[in-house]
């Protein structure tokens, strides 16, 4: 029976990624704490589910690899194998391969890949400990036979079959006709040259008095000898286990046979044998069982998967609605009809709710991005020969989908920087009296309408001297300028393009393209980046991002006939000043604002508004923030605060400075949004 599976492909991909994600996270935990049995259960479950899904979808190579992983994992669970670095490394390699295959499936729809290398390693790991495992298993078989004949020993290793409804129906039918459903695990001698022949003989012997329903690997693979010494069979027969055992044992070069009767009546979640009768949909029941003696780690929420395009569409529509609401408000204000105004208020309330709901729908926990970092940090630390304790905080912090998609690369840059440049080498740490293990913290949190992401290390801090020397050496600044720069300005040089302070260029970082790219990316997301550094104690990079990029609050200002929007998130305050308050410092207009010197820029001049430049006696100043600095922006009129829907100016204007985008105002005219990062 061939089914068209393409419609399930998206679901498969999504879920595979989730399972791979949890696999990765648990593996890291396992590496830290090898005795963590709940982690092991999770890994087992993720691998098992992956196997089930991929074989259902026909991605046999994925299923095959996970199957062999599962074999090893089962032994780990049973305690017949110890968790050691070799095992974990191999599992990581398998994980990488799975990721690669899933990526390939996503790109090309094909997941074919030759995994024999990994499978043979897995086989070796397993068989390296085989004798002990076999003894343990046999003991269990004997024991359980005495205890409960209808539920033969499972060993601690569940078998690898996944039965669908059809299979179960077949089994039930067979049972009703007094057939026994048996599970056989046959091990061929390691020295056997023609394994395929032995497998064939087993099949032939069994089929004389029964029917083989399923086998792993498939019958075809067995014929071609594509297996690692063991194969598993589901067998329907009227003979009892001992008879079957005798039959198989008569075949030469068969090292071991294990036979169990499959009990179909046992409820999946209650008895261990439940694992034998399950398909992917039951994996939740399975997980409950696996976690039953632990606190249930992951609560399953009811969710619907929605195409992100549809959400974007919804967001656009809400955007239009908000825009027209603005227009209605304008009409209401001029017409002064009380009935109309009441209705407008209602619409306002509803559209605000609607907007916040839609925004929430688009919010994704930043976990998605963070999850891949522990592994990256682990590998990096190993490559660099540093010991790192990597801590993630606030991974449940939610962020707009559009931001999530973009934030990964900058964070990779920053983490690499922290590990490579930030943390000192182990020897250096010891000589400074610090613990050998360096700390790197990745932290996310909400604050108002912004989200902050921080990358912090407890390394040597940024050496301002080194930066200045480097900058002079690279002729970015002159030696004289270097002397005049403040510490903050010097650190800012890090973000200049073509700058790298790493003494040695490693393949980890230090190609001099890092931080300026990070800064550009963050700014393109309407965000900002800050650095704090304490010599000898460490460095902290702070990224500030808006929660969403689609609808923002803005302050509308006017200069002459033109109206502009300033994102409210960058506005600190507005104030009215008189001409006398303006002082000149080195040809720069400034005012004193509560004891601080505030440089003034006139918007008319910054954007060359046509017309005569006239000096009013009084003027409005919008105090805006650019990075850590405050700047006063002189405008003619403050119009008010407004919710705006940001639209792109289009391809023709890509890279234009000072303008972040456009909005369609309530009166139908286009207004431009000022980009404070590039305006000055």
């Amino acid at each position: 029976m061939k089914m068209d599976m393409s419609q399930y492909l998206d679901v498969f991909l999504e879920e595979s990624k989730e399972h791979l994600g949890s696999l990765n996270a648990r593996l890291l935990e396992l590496e830290k704490d090898p005795s963590d049995s709940s982690g092991l259960n999770e890994i087992f479950r993720a691998a098992h589910t992956l196997k089930g899904m991929s074989s259902t979808m026909g991605f046999d190579d994925v299923a095959d690899l996970t199957h062999h992983m599962e074999n090893v994992l089962a032994d780990l669970k049973a305690g017949t194998l110890r968790v050691n670095s070799r095992v974990v490394d191999t599992l990581f390699q398998c994980f990488d391969r799975l990721q690669l295959m899933v990526d390939n499936i996503e790109k090309s729809g094909k997941g074919m890949m030759d995994n024999t290398d990994l499978i043979s390693i897995l086989g070796n790991i397993k068989s390296g400990n085989y004798e002990a495992a076999a003894v343990a298993e046999k003991e269990l078989v004997v024991e359980s036979k005495q205890n409960n004949p209808s539920l033969p020993g499972l060993g601690n290793e569940g078998h690898s079959f996944i039965f669908n409804d059809y299979d179960i129906a077949v089994f039930k039918e067979a049972i009703s006709q007094e057939f026994l459903v048996q599970y056989l695990k046959v091990e061929v001698e390691q020295s056997c040259i023609m394994k395929a022949v032995r497998a064939f003989m087993v099949f032939k012997a069994l089929e004389e008095e029964g029917e083989i329903v399923k086998s792993i690997p498939s019958a075809q693979d067995l014929d071609e000898g594509k297996f690692e010494g063991t194969f598993e069979i589901v067998y329907l027969t009227k003979n009892d286990i001992n008879t079957v055992m005798e039959k198989v044992k008569h075949i030469s070069e068969i090292k071991a046979v294990e036979i169990k009767e499959l009990n179909l009546d046992s409820a999946p979640a209650e008895k261990p044998s439940g694992k034998q009768v399950q398909n992917t949909e039951e994996s939740q029941g399975n997980s409950a069982e696996l976690n039953s003696n632990k606190v249930q780690a992951h609560k399953v929420k009811q969710t619907v998967r929605v195409d992100i395009d549809r959400l974007d569409q919804l967001m656009n529509l809400v955007g239009e609605l908000v825009m027209h609401k603005g227009r209605l408000e304008q009409i209401g204000a001029t017409q002064k009809v009380s009935d109309l105004n009441e209705t407008i208020e209602q619409i306002d309330r509803i559209s605000t709710d609607l907007q916040s709901v839609v925004m929430k729908v688009r919010m994704v926990p930043i976990e998605q991005v963070f999850n891949r970092f522990p592994r990256m940090v682990r590998d990096l630390a190993r490559d660099l020969g540093k010991e790192v304790d990597f801590l993630i905080e606030g991974k449940e912090t939610e962020l707009d989908r559009t931001v999530i998609d973009e934030i990964g690369d900058p964070l990779v840059h920053l983490l690499r920087n922290a590990l490579d440049h930030g943390l000192e080498s182990s020897q250096e740490r010891v000589s400074k009296g610090k613990p050998v293990q360096g700390n790197v913290v990745l932290r996310a949190r909400h604050e108002g309408n912004n989200i902050y992401i921080e990358v912090e290390d407890d390394g040597g801090g940024i050496d301002v001297r080194t930066i200045l020397n480097k900058a002079v050496e690279k002729e970015m600044i002159t030696a004289k300028e270097a002397e005049q720069l403040s510490k903050e300005e010097a650190i800012d040089l890090l973000f200049a393009s073509g700058f790298s302070t790493a003494k040695n260029v490693t393949d980890v970082s230090g190609r001099g393209v890092g931080l300026d790219v990070v800064k550009t990316k963050i700014e393109s997301l309407s965000g900002e980046i800050f650095v704090d550094s304490k010599p000898g104690l460490g460095t902290r990079f702070r990224i500030k991002l808006p929660l969403t990029l689609a609808i923002i609050q803005a302050l509308m200002v006017a200069v002459k006939d033109e109206i502009y929007a300033i994102p409210l998130s960058s506005v600190d305050e507005t104030t009215l000043i008189t001409n006398e308050e303006i002082k000149m410092i080195q040809k720069q207009e400034v005012i004193m604002l509560r004891g601080n010197v505030l440089p003034l820029y006139r918007l008319t001049q910054l954007i060359n508004v046509p017309g005569d430049f006239d000096r009013d006696e009084e003027m409005y100043v919008v105090v805006v923030r650019k990075g850590d600095r405050q700047i006063g922006l002189v405008v003619d009129t403050l119009i008010g605060q407004q919710e705006i829907v940001i639209k792109s100016l289009g391809r023709l204007f890509v890279g234009i400075s000072g303008i972040a985008g456009a909005i369609v105002a309530g009166d139908g005219n286009v207004r431009l949004i000022l980009d404070l990062n590039t305006l000055f």
Binding site: P610, F653, I659, N669, L672
Partner: protein, 157 residues
């Protein structure tokens, strides 16, 4: 001579004749391929874009889309002429990209015989020739055919 032949060949491929929208800029007559024209609108409020190139008049709101408007008067150094009421914005589309041009008056839709299109190099020697496809002779009139693709390539920032 070569480019004349090319133009003719192109035109032949589309059955010898092309349809154009003819319009006035200053006292000169221009034309663009009608297949690229999306719509012709009355003049609307144009928002100036600071720091944009000098040939960019600004942006307009076309049913929720924001579209740049190019000022060809400045590009060709022509003084605006004609009644304010006659002025139009011709919106055209090229490769998913939309832009508008301000014209003093839209005259008519014409069919031009490919044979009547003259190579530009003979007439123009200035750099403006880049965005001019050729000169079309219709009766006693001379129409300057614009190359919209090149027009979109002009520096906007």
């Amino acid at each position: 001579m070569e480019s004349t032949i090319n133009i003719n060949q192109d035109a032949e491929a589309s059955s010898d004749k092309i349809q154009v929208v003819a319009f006035q800029l200053g006292n000169e007559e221009y034309a663009v391929d009608i297949l690229k024209v999306q719509e012709i609108n009355r003049l609307m409020t144009i928002t100036r874009v600071p720091r944009a190139g000098e040939f960019i008049e600004g942006v307009v709101n076309l049913r929720g889309n924001i579209i740049p408007v190019i000022n060809l008067h400045k590009k060709f150094n022509l003084a605006p002429a004609g009644e304010a009421d006659d002025k139009r914005i011709i919106v055209f589309q090229f490769d998913e990209m939309k832009a508008g041009i301000i014209v003093d008056k839209v005259s008519e839709v014409l069919q031009i015989n490919a044979d009547n299109i003259e190579e530009t190099v003979k007439v123009y020697t200035s750099i403006d020739a880049e965005i001019i496809k050729g000169i079309a002779k219709v009766d006693n009139r001379l129409l300057i055919l614009l190359d919209l693709q090149k027009l979109l390539g002009i520096e906007v920032i």
